[in-house]
Assembly symmetry: C2
Homo-oligomer: 156 residues x 2
DNA sequence: TGACAGATTCTGCATTTGCTGAATATACAA
DNA sequence: TTGTATATTCAGCAAATGCAGAATCTGTCA
């Protein structure tokens, strides 16, 4: 059976990308961004928009948007090729970067709840909010602790 | 200035609910579900669908759907009132319950990557996947460790 | 400068989503 | 069994989203 498309991916690779993408969808990613994420993880060197579009079999404009999204979230890095207008992408080197947004959110929620709880609740509800604020704070701390060791060596 | 609506919430409470909801939106919640989440946190006793709809100023069908959503995610608990068809909701007593879904996801991703990495990548990409699987696993463990202490006392 | 290679933005479309108000279903009480 | 209070589902609508392909913009090279 010939390869009908222009994709250079092996079938196991496609399966891997799609399965990983399915899991990532639960995190609110679009399907193209999720697939691109998995795709970039498999690549050894930087890849161009045309390669990504061909391999993932989606339009270039679509993959362009997805790449920008991943870049904004810290999941991909954009490289300029010297002496060319061509744009290349590689997987982000800090897997925890996208999660910092989440931990920030947890911190904000914890702070908000702690600051307002006495104004908006009393009795059992106030006790619950106190507990909730502590929970968010502890979770944030635990996540940050787990993320930290994976920060890439600072010599960028 | 009179209260033009049927809501029993104080203005600080409304503010709190809306601010918290804004933060929760980033986690993919719908606005009504997010507001209902905050609302339930403020309540001392169980509340009916009619109360929720009136206080949040949304339709009953909408709040019904949102309540089911929160219940499915473990953010709310549904109580039957003895001798009545009325349905009541309270905030979930385990703040970490909704996160177990996330940690499960992390575990699945870690397992998927670890199992397939040798089939789909080589060289630097394979090393990156190995690191990624470990990262997911460590993050999952850290989150579970932080969540565990908040599990409510087993005496239901 | 002109021509080209490439990224980006734009336009249009189909799908999905969240919401409301109406219709329907269901449990309880008499 | 019938009436009633309540939850749930349905139908329709408006807004947002994701996508493809076309059009446009922008460096780079001759």
């Amino acid at each position: 059976m010939q390869n009908l498309s222009n994709s250079n991916l092996s079938q196991p690779q496609r399966h891997f990308i799609d399965e990983l993408a399915m899991l990532l969808l639960s995190w609110g990613m679009t399907i193209t961004a999720a697939r691109l994420y998995g795709y970039l993880q498999l690549q050894i060197g930087p890849v161009s928009l045309d390669e990504m579009a061909a391999d993932l079999e989606v339009s270039k404009s679509n993959v362009c948007a997805a790449a920008k999204l991943l870049e904004a979230h810290g999941n991909a890095r954009r490289l300029g090729e010297r002496g060319s207008k061509r744009v290349l992408y590689v997987a982000g080197d800090d897997p925890g970067l996208p999660l910092r947004r989440q931990t920030d959110l947890l911190g904000m929620m914890s702070a908000l709840i702690a600051a307002r709880k006495d104004d908006v609740a009393e009795g059992a509800a106030r006790a619950r909010l106190t507990r909730l604020a502590a929970f968010h704070r502890d979770l944030k701390d635990a996540m940050e602790g787990a993320i930290l060791p994976y920060k890439p060596k600072s010599g960028s």
